[in-house]
């Protein structure tokens, strides 16, 4: 194995419409996720961009089911004030929401929703 083969490439995802990996020689491993990162992508403390962003103030545990609910509650309050209607924005009740549960037979087309990976897609509006 020659020298070049031993270089660990930077694993940070790059690109706008067509994604790939950076591929520059890594200079560190991200202390949070372990991903190899190059000098260009290594942030403070050697963090990869994703971890740096998350640790800069993102939700502590996005997989906590209370997270979205907490976000919603805060947001209802703010947006309903802006809308001058303190009840409107929370007006999708359980009956309304029930028609949009994932996983039913009818979710096949998903419309433009649900075309992502897994049944929890949510993307919308194809042309």
């Amino acid at each position: 194995m020659d020298e070049e083969d031993r270089v660990t490439p930077c694993d940070v995802t790059t690109g706008f419409f067509v994604l790939g990996h950076c591929g520059r020689p890594a200079v560190a491993g991200c202390p949070s996720c372990g991903k190899p990162v190059c000098a260009h992508h290594a942030g403070p403390d050697g963090l990869c961009p994703e971890c740096a962003d998350r640790l800069a103030g993102g939700p502590a545990s996005p997989y906590d089911p209370r997270w979205a609910r907490g976000y919603r509650r805060t947001y209802y309050s703010e947006s309903s004030r802006a809308y001058n209607d303190t009840t409107w924005y929370s007006s999708f009740d359980d009956y309304d929401r029930g028609g949009f549960d994932a996983g039913g037979d009818y979710s096949f087309g998903g419309g433009d929703f649900g075309d992502g990976d897994g049944d929890f897609g949510g993307d919308f509006v194809d042309s």
Binding site: A82, G111, G116, F124
Partner: protein, 400 residues
């Protein structure tokens, strides 16, 4: 507080979409073009989209930040609302510097338009209305719920500064909902006119091609019924380049089996966009069998598959809908047939196959039409003009 990453300057522009990006869907092509124009005009910006499926939650590309909402919230409305809240949070560090926010649906629009103290202008790009589309795709959705979504759309449209549509049919639908005509700008979809592409590996000698998603309004069922009527044509196959994962095609694949055409249909799922272009280029005919439903007729659409087929120089047979007539003239740039009529569709395809010189002439004229006025360059120039118009200020610094 979820500021961008450290040392990232505050942005002057943001593009938000409750849509996965990038993906193999036409909507992703559209987002790429529109967001690229926005960020080119404002020296970078923040792109907030859906993630998941292995896409990174955060990317920085020069002066652009890409943030993705990847939480797996099963219920769609719950997820959409969580996205709105997430987007509001993501925008907060940039509120003092933002000049334009470009949004694509009510859930990305709401956090942007609902701020009374906003200093930025809002461009709402309407490619479809969820209150109409979701009636097709979520059959259990109650009329009351859809009415609330329509109300959300009305609220966001009313508070936007400009509304961008890809088709005059959609513009008409919005005017009927009370959006002033002067606020609506037509920015048609576009396509690049590609050079020669190598024949895709495994491509049949003679094939029809369908490119796109599998929602009921796409009319793939109509195409399969038409294809069943072409069984006498030796060696003719149908290639379906589906922009959605394989499991989404189960119902239409079952239909293909019932119709006895399954062994003549080749399925390709979630191909990268550049590979789809090659499949288009080598097809005998490209078919856009959109149905005559409320989504296509009342709301309107601007099918990229038609524009991209025309650009690729492949003869097009499409449903005769007002939105499609904006793109091509029957017997000049392609063939238009009544929607939902498999026999008529099969007949039009058969004639093009039997008269290849005429088919080639149609395709050449279609390609010229795209080059002359329907490339992404044309679309982006129209969008740039919208940005210029809404950000114009008078001598005292107020919006004109």
């Amino acid at each position: 507080m979820t500021a961008g990453s450290p040392a990232q300057p505050a942005h002057r522009a943001a593009y938000l979409a409750f849509d996965r990006f990038p993906s193999s869907k036409g909507s992703a092509v559209h987002i790429a073009q529109m967001a690229d124009e926005l960020f080119a005009a404002f020296g970078g910006g923040l792109l907030g989209v859906l993630g998941g499926g292995g896409l990174p939650g955060y990317q920085r590309e020069g002066d652009r930040e890409i943030v993705r909402f990847g939480e797996q919230v099963p219920n769609l409305i719950d997820r959409a609302e969580a996205f709105s809240a997430w987007a509001a949070d993501r925008l907060r560090p940039h509120l003092a510097t933002l000049e334009v926010c470009h949004v694509r649906d009510p859930w990305s629009a709401l956090p942007v338009v609902a701020r009374d103290d906003r200093r930025y202008r809002v461009v709402y790009e309407v490619n479809g209305l969820p209150s109409i589309e979701m009636a097709h795709t979520w059959p259990w959705a109650s009329p009351a719920a859809l009415a609330k979504i329509a109300e959300l759309e009305r609220y966001c449209l009313a508070r936007s500064d400009a509304v961008v549509v890809p088709s005059r049919v959609i513009a008409g639908a919005l005017e009927r909902r009370g959006v002033p005509a002067g606020k609506i700008a037509l920015v048609p979809n576009g396509a690049p006119v590609p050079g020669p592409a190598p024949r895709p590996a495994g491509a049949p000698d003679r094939y029809l091609v369908y490119v796109g998603a599998m929602q009921p309004w796409q009319g793939v069922d109509v195409l399969l019924r038409a294809f069943a009527r072409l069984a006498d044509l030796p060696g003719l196959r149908l290639v379906v380049c589906a922009s959605v994962p394989e499991r989404r095609a189960k119902p239409v694949r079952r239909l293909a089996e019932r119709l006895g055409v399954a062994d003549r249909v080749d399925w390709r799922f979630t191909l990268p966009h550049h590979e789809v272009a090659a499949w288009l280029a080598h097809a005998q005919v490209s078919v856009a069998p959109l149905t005559g439903c409320a989504r296509n007729l009342d709301q309107g659409c601007a099918p990229l598959k038609v524009i991209e087929s025309m650009a690729a120089g492949v003869p097009v047979v499409a449903s005769d809908l007002p939105a499609v007539r904006e793109l091509l003239d029957d017997r000049v740039h392609g063939r238009l047939v009544p929607a939902d009529r498999p026999a008529e569709l099969a007949r039009a395809i058969r004639i093009l196959l039997e008269y290849p010189d005429e088919a080639r002439a149609l395709a050449a004229r279609a390609r010229d039409r795209i080059a002359a006025g329907l490339t992404w360059g044309h679309s982006r120039a129209a969008l740039a003009e919208v940005y210029r118009t809404i950000t114009r200020r008078d001598d005292e610094g107020r919006w004109c």
